[in-house]
Symmetry: C2
Subunit: 569 residues, 2 copies
Amino acid sequence: MDYCAPVDEMLLQLEYLCNVKQLQKFNKYENLDLCTIKTILDEAAKLSSKTIAPLNRVGDKIHPRKETDQVLCPPGFIEAYEQISLGGWVGMSASQDYGGMDLPLVIGSCVNEMLGSACLSLALNPLMTQGQIEALQSHASEELKNCYLPNLISGRWSGTMNLTEENAGSDVGALTTSAVLKDDGTYEISGQKIYISWGEHNLTENICHLVLARLPGSQKGTRGISLFLVPKYLPSLNDKIGKRNSLIVTAIEEKMGLHGSPTAVMEYNKAKGWLVGKPNDGMSAMFTMMNNARLGVAVQGLSQAERALQKAVVHSKDRKQGRSQIENGTGAIIDHADVRKNLLSMKALTSVSRSLCLDTAMSIDLAKISGCPIQMNRAAFLIPIAKAFSTENGCRVADIGIQVHGGLGFIESSGVPQLYRDVRITAIYEGTNGIQAMDLVNRKLSDGGAAGFALVQELIDTEQICRHAGTMKEGSIEEFHNARLHLLNGLNWMLNTQNINERYAGATQFLKAFGLILGAHYLLKVAAKSQNLEKLELAQFYIDHILPESFAALKSACRGTKSIYRTKV
Amino acid sequence: MDYCAPVDEMLLQLEYLCNVKQLQKFNKYENLDLCTIKTILDEAAKLSSKTIAPLNRVGDKIHPRKETDQVLCPPGFIEAYEQISLGGWVGMSASQDYGGMDLPLVIGSCVNEMLGSACLSLALNPLMTQGQIEALQSHASEELKNCYLPNLISGRWSGTMNLTEENAGSDVGALTTSAVLKDDGTYEISGQKIYISWGEHNLTENICHLVLARLPGSQKGTRGISLFLVPKYLPSLNDKIGKRNSLIVTAIEEKMGLHGSPTAVMEYNKAKGWLVGKPNDGMSAMFTMMNNARLGVAVQGLSQAERALQKAVVHSKDRKQGRSQIENGTGAIIDHADVRKNLLSMKALTSVSRSLCLDTAMSIDLAKISGCPIQMNRAAFLIPIAKAFSTENGCRVADIGIQVHGGLGFIESSGVPQLYRDVRITAIYEGTNGIQAMDLVNRKLSDGGAAGFALVQELIDTEQICRHAGTMKEGSIEEFHNARLHLLNGLNWMLNTQNINERYAGATQFLKAFGLILGAHYLLKVAAKSQNLEKLELAQFYIDHILPESFAALKSACRGTKSIYRTKV
């Protein structure tokens, strides 16, 4: 089998890192014990490993094909998508009122990881729909909800996000797509949107576009943007598919990777749309969608790391090359210190990404169910870190994976380059990682650092647990301790720096350091709580070889703009 | 123009870093003043920027096509190759006795950088031939030299290196291709070789393969390997092309990048070959070729960094997005601190790679012309660092380049993904970067560290110059000073560690740290010697934001194998 879903690892983290049992305190989740969770994950694992994973290479080689105004997917995608929807995985986190499974995001993230590892390009389709479901549940009228949610949740219809225009990418406030109110209360949407993932395809009978557009006379910038639901086919009363709406795919991009997923240029020409949420309040609805979507992309990064890791481990146990430098060596390259270090780096970074994603998901779940503002801020703080750090790790792990394979890592038939190419987009879409970092040091510090300091306190708790347990080398605990002190200095530097551009100059490195140090915390916490020796040793490896990078990142993070604007580019 | 060759920057480094004038002390180079060098580089720049650079995308889209036993190159490659050979660039470093230009490698490297930036896949062809010329000049019989060198140097014929077999990659000693002596003194070569760059093509009338093979009864491992010259067409006396030799291309690999360059699987079936050098001494001849080839690959890494940098700078001056955070901003994304920091990182890493390549080339030139053993050891020490660090930088700079482009960076028509895909092979071929690192901490320390300590002394000299000049911030000099002390500790740790596998465990990180710290030294030295304020500020940026990574690398470098073998993969 080319991919084997890491269910045991997920269960371990759910139990010892997330303490997932705490969700059972809430009525909604009272039956969600570990045994039930295992049953759910095993089901998703079977689907991912057996049915979907073999499609990954197919979608890379046979790209979706545009024929006039439709897009035909690679062979096998229709059938695999059907299995995903039949399993209820599209609507797994959606409300039971509309046919969903009402699973917490922390479980949904495990499933999404598996689907993403199996075939990232296909898995992106339900991920987009999940975001749309979330946005409609929170912001749409009852009428829209009743009409769209059951069809989206069942997977019969799919959803997209339409933000970007040619001159409005990171700067979404610059968009010009227009919306004009009609007598019947609907709107006419006109404009061009680019980079629309799964904007057109033949997997579902209808495609529902959430489109950001401007009402006449609205304010400039993001405060003048409204959100509209614009379906490819207008819904009709008798549950049949209705009239074709005036929107069309005009091109499919030729990308570096993620070939199985059609990235569309969409043209709206007085297309019929419905307002979602209030006029000029589109960004807040979009952010509901984007927060979960950012976590979703973080999980995508993780998913590619996991698959790259698995491939590299199999290869390095199999490939014989050179003499073994260790006693009782197998003669395979896994015996070589350099290769083994590469594999352990991949493993540690993948584990850390998973922890970060699950911790973030759990925080969102707790925030949502308890309404607790502390959890809400914690979740909000973690989201940009999860998105950027986990996708960076995904790129890095895929890169190391190539190196472990040597020459074969550059040959497409090995499947190794695809992971490297596919994962690269995750550091870009849903807000580039630079945008995530700016969000972290600006909006996410606007609570005076409360969420950040609370996370630092969690590091202190972990340090105490480790000192108490006495299983970790004293020197390693000291290094973790020092990293935390440096992080705190960095956090204070950011908070004390009034000029926002001085913060921005160090944002990427600050986020990286936060991610790296959280990583050590997660590994140590899981090791201590689970009393798992393997985890302890992985934590030791991470502290020895990867954590030191956080010091370098923090140095750069707190330098401000001085040598940046003075130096000529 | 899509690529503009950085001739001024090269001249600056040749003058102030390499002190290229010192070559004029030797008869061979007495006329090689800066003015002459400029004329040479300008010529190569014109060819690269105007004729060759536009082919880069062509070769990426239209791959070489295998038709029965021949391979047809992408459109325009034949004509461009003709220009390269007509300009004398194939044989620019070869001996005048056989029609070469006898230019030092330090100039040849500048030209190779330009050709590589323009079209890496095409430039690989003359690079392979250059390696073959070098090997034949040093090891072949007069008869072989007279027959082959003029044709290789003129570019009428091309050369390849045949080392790798399916089960003999990094472990070249495992190869099984056989060579049997015939009555006429030639050999019959039989076996399969893989990953043969430009193994078959239609650019030249003959293709000359240097093939590593085993004589009957030879020792196992690398001591039983001999080197053979095996041409596609046997040479004939009348300067016409002779009989077809029994070797054939059986497949062209489908790679992640470098598509314009056909990577062949070659089958030798009792092909006629001539011994180069002594029996069972093939590795020493191969190393002559590989040393320069490794520098050549280092320059390839640099070449892609330069082109990625140029593309990113153009884009970020052009692309308007968001509000400028600085006074008198242009509104383009180059004003954003995060983007600017990315661009400066690209610029600094590219500059450092160039310095490292030119310093290494100069050292090889001086070693060769003076026979000085100190220079020989210096060159030998620098080669693995140049190869690994410069190609790592190439990958890193191409990666940052994608990020600067945002979504466009993932779209193939932008040309940005190609650089990222193409450069990735440079970290793998000519000995993976892991192999380079192991070479550094093993063979290259077998002089008791003399070459390493001598380089550390050069860092001390640079520090003194900077302190004396007083233009650099005291704090920055201190950081450079500290980095050097840490490097020295690392070097001593390596030398004092008897168990070679303990060294290997830290080899990659030790090499990285050495490269990073040499980088600061180069930037500071050029800035001080040239009294160039721009260079000084770039050095300042590098010390602030990139040099700190060396501390993290050195920590990991000196940990040994402990948490590597104990931890389960």
